[in-house]
Structures are given as structure tokens and as C-alpha cells.
């Protein structure tokens, strides 16, 4: 990162022009970031710090807590029951992400490779379904997958309230989030490289594997993370399509705040989810900030 910024040699003329350019470069004042910074500090970092504080607190009676430095809540999180929910969540999100890639990558490829005039229209058509409410769409999937519905009757595909329905729901709702970054990186790719490879005798599949796939890896990884992380925090899809039989961590957190009113435990579950996802979140942030450097 630092390498790109440092001038190749410490030559005086170069340093001078850089400095001179900077004073001329039109810049808006840095204090314009202060409102957002203040806002994030108060309404994002503030709540998150309080969440950490609560996860270390002790529940003392219904709805009241005593601040402490106790790992009591976390010791409850490692209960096999909750560990299973965590495992189930990560596994389902991984399956959903894999399914999204398998379905979505060819679509992005098709858009970038074979479309010209209608490219933007297709991109728009990809987004239109997402203008209807997320809940309505998930409810519509429930109608489609209903055991008395046509799919179950005529194709014998009865999947409602099983992991299959949850996987379908996840894939459906997150598909464009994967297609768009992959499409963007395919658009930036130099297709003549693929041509060169096939001219030199590579099979189309080999050319794809060694050139297209590699060059679009940043977009694919960004998209996969963009899909995987929110899937792990999903809460509505397992509830509606899993019928409460297939819990995600999000449902467990919701229950501790809704029915059980055990906030410290809910806070500990939330922090545990963050810890479980931290590797992926850091990876995403690194990728996103890096991508942007190239993009600019």
C-alpha cells in the first residue's frame, strides 16, 4: 500500500511538483467529513461499545442489568445448543453463497460477453424484482413452495420449512448482490487476452480458468463476501421459509430481545456473531478499499 504512494526516487524536482500540484489541486475542506464522523461516533460506535459493555454485564432480574466484567454470558453461548445454531448458520450461508455463485457467475459472464445494446437494460431488469418489499418476495416464495401449491403437486417438490426452502430464499434474495460486482470486474477485463490464449491453443475452458476467472477473482471475492456476511445475519428468511424449525443466529438474538428480555445474553450472542464473522468482515473491508484504489 505504502509503495504506491512513495515516489520511486527521492528526487527533489518530483517532490516539488507533487507539492506544487497539491496546493493547486481543487479540494474541498476536510471538515466536511466531520458531520459524518460525529454521526458514526455517536450512533454507530456508541451503540457498538454499549453492546460490548452489555455482553459483559449480568442480568439481575427481568429487564434489569448490573454492569460487570463477567464472561458469564459468553459461557452460555458456548453451550452445544447455541454452537449448533452458529454452525448451522455458517453452513447454510456458505451453501447459499455457493449456490449464488453457481447461478450468478454465468449470468454476469453472459451479460459482459454476449450483450451489447441491452446490457444496461438487463442490469436494470436484474434490480427491478428488488423494488418489491423483501418480505413480500419471501412470502411469494412461500406461496410457490407451499405443500399445496403447484410445485409440490406437479413436480413433487415439497420443500417448505426445510433447509432447501431456506437455501432457495437466501439465493433468491442475494443473487444480484453477487452478479453486480462480478459483472463490473468482467466489464473491466481485457477480452483480447482470452482471444490470445485460445489462439495459442488453449481450450476455452482452460482460457477461462487461467485468465477470466483469475482476473475476475477480486470481483468474485467481493461479491461472495457481500453475500455471505449478511446471509449469516439473516433473520427473516429462516423464520418465514424455515418455519421456525431452522434457526439462524439472528433468530436466536431476536428471541433474547423479544420474548426472553435477556439483553446481556442477546448482546453476547451478537458479539459472538461479530467475532465469528470478523475474518470475513476484515477481508471485505481490505478488498473494498483496495478495489477502490484500482477503480479510481
Amino acid at each position: 500500500m505504502a509503495r504506491a504512494e512513495t515516489p520511486p526516487a527521492r528526487g527533489i524536482p518530483l517532490a516539488k511538483t507533487r507539492k506544487a500540484r497539491r496546493s493547486f489541486a481543487p479540494r474541498y475542506p476536510a471538515w466536511l467529513t466531520f458531520p459524518s464522523l460525529f454521526y458514526y461516533a455517536l450512533f454507530f460506535l456508541g451503540p457498538l461499545s454499549l453492546l460490548i459493555l452489555f455482553s459483559l454485564a449480568i442480568q439481575s432480574g427481568f429487564g434489569s442489568v448490573t454492569y460487570a466484567f463477567s464472561f458469564e454470558q459468553f459461557s452460555q453461548v458456548i453451550d452445544p445448543l447455541y454452537l449448533r445454531i452458529f454452525g448451522q448458520t455458517l453452513l447454510m450461508a456458505a451453501a447459499g453463497t455457493a449456490l449464488t455463485i453457481v447461478i450468478g457467475y454465468p449470468i454476469a459472464y453472459w451479460m459482459a460477453r454476449y450483450l451489447s445494446t441491452y446490457k444496461m437494460l438487463i442490469l436494470l431488469l436484474l434490480i427491478v424484482p428488488f423494488w418489491t418489499s423483501f418480505l413480500i418476495r419471501t412470502y411469494a416464495l412461500k406461496i410457490i413452495l407451499d405443500p399445496q401449491g403447484y410445485l409440490a403437486k406437479y413436480l413433487n417438490f415439497d420443500s417448505l420449512y426445510t433447509w432447501k426452502a431456506v437455501a432457495i430464499g437466501l439465493t433468491y434474495n442475494y443473487l444480484p448482490l453477487l452478479i453486480i460486482p462480478v459483472f463490473a470486474s468482467l466489464e473491466r477485463m481485457d477480452w483480447t487476452l482470452v482471444e490470445a490464449a485460445t489462439d495459442l491453443g488453449a481450450s476455452p475452458f482452460r482460457a477461462f480458468r487461467q485468465i477470466t476467472l483469475r482476473l475476475t477473482m477480486p470481483g468474485l471475492v467481493t461479491g461472495a463476501l457481500l453475500v455471505f456476511i449478511p446471509m449469516c445475519g439473516e433473520f427473516i428468511i429462516p423464520d418465514i421459509l424455515g418455519g421456525g424449525r431452522f434457526l439462524f443466529v439472528g433468530n436466536a438474538i431476536g428471541d433474547t430481545f423479544g420474548q426472553a428480555q435477556n439483553w446481556p445474553f442477546g448482546a453476547a450472542l451478537s458479539i459472538s456473531l461479530m467475532i465469528a464473522l470478523s475474518v470475513f468482515m476484515v477481508a471485505y473491508i481490505l478488498f473494498a478499499t483496495k478495489e477502490e484504489r484500482f477503480g479510481a
Binding site: A25, T33, P106, L135, I180
Partner: protein
């Protein structure tokens, strides 16, 4: 020959996937015209079959025949209408404040030194990548505690929904606007400064007009995100009912086709708004055809 086959295969796959994407939408619209189940109609015996209460409509997940009465019914129900109005209000306020915050930050950040920019960027991406359920419960704890200790904070309700939603919507707006701002280069701004304009008039005369498509895209996107958001409002709403909250409880405890009817109308309304905005943007862009990239980048980030 061979590449023709590949093309056909890919196109076939795309057709299948688009059917998959649009099937639920078609179902929403179709089931807005569904009758209550025959046994429910028989038991009811009244004139207007759409007056049957949600608990008694029977199975409306199968096609029972067509009626248009749900559309009127949906608009009569005060719970639905009030919640939609609340959601529209929340979304409007959230989108305006988020876009202003995002625009200000984008202007300063675009040409800021990396050492200051990267930490800010990391924070911005963090607000987007932390699962929303975590932000929601953290906000709930925060607003309740803040209200207990400092009474100037609002009670749980519409205000706390707005305050909570602005966090990630401001980040989204910032990224969309900055993508265009960085993409369009700074020569015109430079010229404006050289000719003696200050930052304020440069912004008004040069930067804002050129950024307008991105600003509008940011407003639209944050509006739809806020309008459609269930998780954060579900925790910080107090007694306020937003449209997704009403939807969720009706999905769980018995939905009537009236909900589908309202959803269908909103889908059409959104479609009209987006088409109108796209046409307007195309007209302003016609003079500068080279700047399409910014909008694509904006879409890409969404």
C-alpha cells in the same frame, strides 16, 4: 459454430434465472386478485367477499378464482395505510439526511490523503458489513439507555428508527457519490478555482450539477433501502408501525390478498418513478454522453 453453442447455452441459463427472479413477482401480482377459499366464502355469506377477516380467508396460497375487490380493501384498512405513510415519511427523511451527510463526506474524502482517508473508509465499510441485526440490537440498547440517562434523546419510535437507519444509508450515499466524483476528474474544478471562484461557488456551479445523477441515485437508493428495512425498525420502533413491520406480522399471522394488492401498486409506482428519473437523467446527460460511467458505478455499488 462452437461459440454459437456456448452463447445459446448461456442465454438459456439466463432465461431460466430471470424466470426464477420474476416468478415471485408474478405471484405477488397474480395473488392480489385471488378469492378467499370456497369454504370461507360459503361460511361468510355476506356480499363483499373481501370483507372476510384475514383469520378466516382460508388458504390463499392457491388460486381460488379472480376478484378485484382487494385493491379497494387495501386502501380502506387504516393499519396498512398509516404504516405506509409512516414508512414513506421515515424513508424521505432518512434519504435526505443520508445524502447530505454522504455528499459532504464524499467531497472531502475524494481527494484526501490516503493516511486520513483509509481509516474513514474502513469505518464506512464497517457500517455496511456489520450484520444489521447486530446494529439493530445495539441501537435498541443505546436508545433505551440514552433515554434513561440523558432525557434529551427521543423515546423509541419514528425518531429512533430514523436515527438508526441514517448510519448505513449515509455510508451508501457517500460511496455512490464519491464513485462518480472520483470518476469525473477534477479539471473543471481546477479551472473554476483558477478563475477565482471559491469553494462555495465552485460547488454550486460546477460540482453539484455534474454530480446530480449520483446524488439522485443515492437519494433513490437510500429511500428504497429505508422503506424496505425491517430489521432495524423491528427493534427500535417502540409502538410505531412501519409497513414492513405490518407486513411481517401479517405474513406470520395470516395474510390477505389485500397486502398483495398494495404491494403490486407500490411496485408499479416505484417502476414509474425510476423510469421518469432515468428519462430525466438521460436528458441532462445527453449533452455529456461520456459520463455514463458514473451511473453504472452507482448502480454497481448498490
Amino acid at each position: 459454430m462452437r461459440s454459437g453453442l456456448a452463447k445459446r447455452l448461456f442465454t438459456g441459463w439466463a432465461v431460466l434465472v430471470f424466470i426464477f427472479l420474476y416468478l415471485p413477482i408474478a405471484v405477488v401480482v397474480l395473488f392480489a386478485f385471488d378469492k378467499p377459499s370456497p369454504s370461507a366464502i360459503e361460511a361468510f355469506g355476506g356480499d363483499n367477499i373481501c370483507d372476510i377477516s384475514p383469520a378466516n380467508v382460508g388458504n390463499v396460497s392457491v388460486w381460488n378464482g379472480g376478484t378485484t375487490c382487494w385493491f379497494a380493501k387495501g386502501f380502506e384498512d387504516p393499519v396498512y395505510v398509516n404504516s405506509i405513510v409512516t414508512s414513506l415519511k421515515v424513508a424521505a427523511i432518512v434519504s435526505v439526511i443520508s445524502t447530505i451527510l454522504g455528499l459532504a463526506a464524499a467531497l472531502a474524502l475524494a481527494r484526501m490523503r490516503k493516511r486520513f482517508r483509509l481509516p474513514f473508509d474502513a469505518l464506512v465499510y464497517l457500517t455496511l458489513v456489520v450484520p444489521e441485526i447486530v446494529i439493530a440490537v445495539a441501537s435498541l440498547i443505546f436508545f433505551v439507555q440514552a433515554r434513561n440517562y440523558f432525557h434529551l434523546f427521543p423515546e423509541l419510535g419514528m425518531n429512533t428508527i430514523i436515527l438508526g437507519q441514517i448510519v448505513f444509508n449515509a455510508s451508501l450515499a457517500m460511496l455512490i457519490i464519491r464513485a462518480r466524483f472520483v470518476g469525473m476528474g477534477d479539471t473543471l474544478e481546477e479551472a473554476s478555482y483558477d478563475l477565482g471562484s471559491g469553494p462555495v461557488s465552485t460547488f454550486r456551479q460546477i460540482t453539484l450539477p455534474r454530480l446530480l445523477p449520483a446524488v439522485i441515485a443515492a437519494m433513490l437508493l437510500t429511500f428504497t433501502f429505508s422503506f424496505d428495512d425491517y430489521i432495524l425498525p423491528a427493534f427500535t420502533n417502540g409502538t410505531t408501525q412501519t409497513w414492513p413491520i405490518v407486513l411481517y406480522s401479517s405474513v406470520r399471522f395470516g395474510i390477505t390478498p389485500a397486502v398483495n394488492a398494495l404491494a403490486a401498486i407500490m411496485l408499479i409506482a416505484t417502476f414509474v418513478v425510476v423510469v421518469v428519473v432515468a428519462l430525466l437523467l438521460r436528458r441532462t446527460r445527453a449533452a455529456r454522453p461520456r459520463e455514463e460511467k458514473g451511473f453504472a458505478a452507482a448502480l454497481g455499488l448498490g
